[in-house]
Symmetry: C2
């Protein structure tokens, strides 16, 4: 039997076992990643270049990269020998860079497919929604004209400038109270160092950039208006950066990348563990995310230069229906000449572990009881202290954390959704690998978190994949024939396109549809005696065939296995009991509204999610998917200084509850594994399954 | 004729022309610097090692160091080959380090004589005076015990600590108003990074160091009391550092070094010029002074470890007489285990050029009209931003500058002497290569500055040298025999010891005594027909022999030349017109008190200085020498936070005047070259020269 090796492809995160001896390019295709080639794999076009990365896997240790690939062939050597400049420009060495049509897999490898070699671009699902944000900037620019110094008036440069700023401020902001005086202002040390030259070069006419009416971050000769900021959402899996025009709030570029820390562990717990087990683990993961942020900044700047539009946000039906959302602003003409010096602030959110790794704080105490972060309150740090390549004097602001597993991302969600300003009780669920839940109103807010595993994002599912071309995103099953219809990302028509796998939204669909079509029973078991060639024993248990091999680009049947179904059951039970815990705390039967935050919430089918009990049973019109609310919160706090103060207050006031671990809770959890959950009336989508009856075993449990 | 080459010896600053071919050790001895040797110059003891430095001289460019010395001899090679570890430990290379008994001078060279090779140690004249300082610290320590976090109370580490600090503060400082709340406190980012570990290592019992009731600079496990700060006076020639115990104010170590920037120019103007002419000039001078400060910090720490007393301050008669000075505190037992992490603040003063070079601010605009500094107000910068090796989170505070040539040193003098709190009018003169003058009282203060040249410090004087063993420090001349008596530093008796040169205080003495003994006339010319073998033509004009070759260690007659006398005349005329300008501004005939600041002021003979018109004509009891008042001001501001605010206010209120350049002023200057000055009554020391009569030529000028 042929040996198999693990191949992981960055930045997509696609991974899988491939046969020993296949070329990297073939392996990548098999895993759903297209790599360019126009020379028919003759080692002459160079379009298929990939980088062999080093890294460590959670379970499998990756040894020397060279042993795990065939040696560099003569053809490859010849190709690279003809292009010394290409290697030199990028700082690559032969062996680190390979032609993927030539290099063959001999062991486990981690491969990076550079942008230029990718056959199809990934769809960025985390894209800033367009929402109305009142702009109350922390960054303001003032044009200042000064009298040049004379022997009679030889005041120092800074004092002269500060006087000028005071005058300009009181002119521009006439009527505002508490405007700062010259003596209240300070100047960043690095800016002071070049001040004398700048004032003289500008012949005493300059534009100053002032942060929080307090500190001068930049002095430029002449008149300038541009100022930019970056809102960043550091997810465990994806890092998304929105470059914003601080005057208009407009997103001028949206960039995202895989979180590079994924090679040190897929979820937060394994990254915490990695930092505990490796002396340099924290430093490595910190540097990795800083490098990625710097890369995203560079990309965003380049895209602005190219005048490219950011990836368009696709508003969901719910977003459009909700009165809380406005139509996108008319974008101003792009093609701005943005430089890193024009970016004065970066506002970041992320879960508490991402927060700690970003700030190089040891996450050790986050990983075990009593689960304590190093800091709750928001952090302001000079960009140069963190090595982030915006303006060196610029400010890095990270929103407050609430608890070990309720991070700055939740602070972002809170100021974006504002449950603390509502009379109604809202339940907000932000679903990722971990789910954070907040419940309450203007009187009181409670929160908790629960691990849901990566299944809802399409990971750890046999044919799961991220939302990308070739992924099935919607599935329906005919009740009588048990035949599926599916929709593939990038295809207009149903049941068309070459299928590579199924992404999160479709996984929910399949499970719900299998339940509705009575392929599965209420406990998630395959019913006996179902007559369909789609239902079969796959060797490792029963499975349902969604697409036949002939319909795919991978040449294998794409199925949902019993194991996959268990993953979904575990995730939805975890979500359910977390929500129930909070509702009990607030003495509520159900919330008035349900807000689904996170990219995931935008793509799932609400009805089907409710059908399997993944989300609480509510009138459908009270369920809102708001997209990446954490990222929106970052953008809001970037543009509105008051919202940072609000974040601090809300984060401080929200009460956190640990999920209980007593037997009663275990019982609840067991019940919640069923479709739908078994402990409550089930009304709002019950009509979809008229034949539904509670499993007698579950009923028995419920009655205890 | 033998060729001569310039040899400069660091850190003493001794310099001079020596014959080509002499050994470095012989050259050093000739220039008054003893280098150890116990092997009779056989290249075996290694005691005479010196370092060949690179550098640039104001006028002579120094070429490659190797061409200017004989090649490394076989004996030297053999010596170093036997001691690889010695070189390795210090990072020296053969060729850079030489045995000074072997290396012969073949061109101009700059040599550093390491401490261990020095035959006699330099006396540090700039030593902190002991004065009563009210301690109002910017640095406070608090011992904090916390409840460990639990699942029920899992607050973050920082919030837990901040609560603890608030509690500890309100306990320790009961009754004080405006104590900060936990939410007002912040923590240095680098300290936050290790906070989680420290709290747990300390089992929730820690000592925190808080800066200005605002920011936590350090967290240590357990109970600690020590905190230190450094007060630094950066002179153009000497950098002096006083390491102080911040609890008691005690100076636990006093260190000084030559200012390394001296190789880029002796005075501030030539250093400004160097920075203009060389792209990397500013950077070089900045790095040089930072390196010296770091060296001084290390030395101070080492001396504390060794339990050595700092060099004792020698209080002058005036200091002891003045009621404003108190006896030194009883020193606490030394031998403290100080580490750089225990040093939380460094408070610096220096003239405006030193201020700019320290902060890496371009001094260009300081050097030409209208003479504008980059900043007046005091600067606070994190130690790590400047690369100063105290606690990385510690604060660097530089006192405010007043004008281009009235710097942070004058701010220091002001808060040390407090003229702004007096009813009387005080004239404060701080004499160095440049002199700063402040005049006034609590109603109004005016100030100006004037270059006086280095003559008053013993430089640019034929046999001038710094105050060190072998230097003549006092001279008297018998009126009838014209024979001198002299006192040598390090010798008890008069006319004893091997003479190497004359230092600043003795130079004033000789000129005054030559005038009193009628060797010089009122215009500073050698009188005709004086009968003494001491008075002779030296080839380059007339000169007076102070010590015959046989009395010296350099084997040459030590003389004062006509050229030397002119240097003193220029310096005293400059001082005189500057003082006159201020007195005119204040509409005063003379001040009520004269305060001489600067090390120089402590060592000159007041009577003789008044005799030649170097200082204004006042009752002797109204003249005070206060030593290094700028350094004292630094120490005061280090220990007393309110004094920093006071410095800011005074520096802002003092009015600066440029010295005029009109013909009337030129005339005044010409008259002031005379002994004493010619434009005013001369009363308080006139009895010492009953035979004195005004030069008819000068009288004529005065009557115009």
């Amino acid at each position: 039997m042929t040996r198999k090796h693990l191949v992981i492809l960055q930045p997509s995160g696609r991974r899988g076992l491939v046969d020993e001896g296949v070329s990297l390019r073939a392996a990548a295709r098999e895993l759903g990643v297209e790599i360019e080639s126009i020379c028919a794999e003759n080692a002459t076009c160079g379009k298929c270049m990939v980088l062999v990365e080093e890294g460590r896997f959670e379970k499998d240790n990756l040894h020397s990269k060279r042993e795990h690939l065939s040696p560099v062939s003569e053809d490859e050597k010849a190709y690279f020998a003809r292009r010394p400049k290409l290697l030199q420009d990028r700082g690559w060495e032969v062996g680190q860079v390979r032609l993927s049509c030539q290099a063959c897999v001999l062991g486990d490898v981690l491969i990076n497919v550079p942008e230029e070699s990718r056959g199809n671009k990934q769809i960025v699902r985390k894209s800033a929604t367009q929402r109305e944000i009142e702009i109350k900037p922390s960054i303001r620019k003032y044009y200042v004209e000064m009298e040049p110094p004379t022997l009679a008036h030889p005041h120092a440069d800074w004092e002269r400038l500060a006087q000028g700023i005071e005058a300009a401020m009181s002119l521009v902001r006439r009527g505002e109270e508490n405007l700062p005086k010259a003596a209240d202002l300070s100047i960043d040390y690095t800016v002071l160092r070049t001040l004398a030259q700048t004032l003289r070069d500008g012949e005493w006419k300059v534009t100053v950039t002032v942060w929080q009416d307090r500190e001068v971050l930049r002095v430029q000769t002449g008149y300038h208006e541009d100022s930019f900021g970056a809102a960043v959402d550091i997810g465990s899996t994806t890092v998304a950066l929105y470059l914003c025009d601080l005057r208009t709030g407009e997103v001028v570029a949206a960039e995202s990348e895989m979180n590079p820390q994924i090679v040190y562990g897929e979820d937060v717990m394994s990254r915490i563990q990695y930092s505990i087990e490796h002396g340099d683990g924290l430093e490595k993961m910190h540097k990795a995310v800083i490098a990625t942020l710097n890369k995203l900044i560079k990309q965003a700047i380049r895209h602005c230069e190219e005048g490219r539009r950011p990836d368009e946000a696709i508003p969901s039906q719910q977003e459009i229906a909700s009165s809380r959302y406005r139509a996108p602003r008319t974008a101003s003409p792009l093609g701005n000449d943005v430089t890193s010096d024009d970016i004065f602030e970066m506002l970041l959110v992320g879960n508490t572990t991402m927060h700690h790794l970003l700030l190089n704080l040891p996450p050790t105490a986050l990983g075990h009881a009593p689960y304590v972060p190093s800091i709750h309150k928001a952090v302001n740090i000079k960009a140069r202290e963190l090595g982030l390549q915006i303006n060196a004097a610029g400010n890095i602001h990270v929103l407050p954390t609430i608890a070990s597993f309720i991070g700055a991302d939740t602070s972002g969600v809170l100021i974006a959704e504002e449950p603390h300003k509502q009379d109604e009780n809202w339940l907000i669920i932000d679903v990722g690998t971990n789910a954070e839940l907040v419940l309450g109103n203007r009187e009181r807010l409670v929160c908790t978190s629960t691990p849901t595993g990566p299944a809802l994002e399409g990971a750890h599912i046999e044919y799961g994949m991220r939302a990308a071309p070739g992924a099935i995103e919607r599935v329906e099953i005919d009740e009588s024939t048990l035949e599926p219809r599916y929709k593939v990302i990038g295809e207009e028509a149903w049941n068309s396109g070459r299928v590579k796998g199924i992404c999160g939204s479709a996984i929910i669909d399949v499970v719900a549809e299998m339940f509705r079509a009575q392929i599965l029973d209420g406990r998630g078991r395959f019913r006996k005696g179902v007559q369909s060639e789609r239902v079969r024993d796959g060797g490792n248990g029963q499975e349902y065939v969604i697409a036949w091999a002939a319909e795919t680009s991978i040449g294998r049947d794409i199925v949902l296995t019993l194991k996959d179904i268990r993953q979904i059951q575990l995730a939805k039970a975890a979500l359910y009991v977390a929500a129930r815990t909070l509702l009990n705390q607030m003495k509520l039967e159900r919330p008035d509204k349900l807000i689904l935050a996170g990219g995931f919430g935008s793509y799932i089918d609400k009805t089907r999610a409710m059908l399997i009990g993944l989300i609480p049973d509510l009138p459908l019109e009270d369920v809102y998917a708001v997209g990446n609310a954490a990222g929106d919160g970052a953008r809001i706090a970037l543009l509105n200084l008051e919202k940072r103060r609000e974040a601090a207050e809300v984060a401080r006031s929200v009460q956190r509850f640990e999920l209980p671990t007593d037997p009663e809770f275990q019982n609840q959890f067991m019940l919640a594994l069923n479709f739908p959950h078994m402990t409550e009336p089930f009304t709002h989508v019950a009509h979809l399954i008229p034949h539904h009856q509670v499993d007698p075993m579950a009923e028995k449990l419920m009655k205890k």
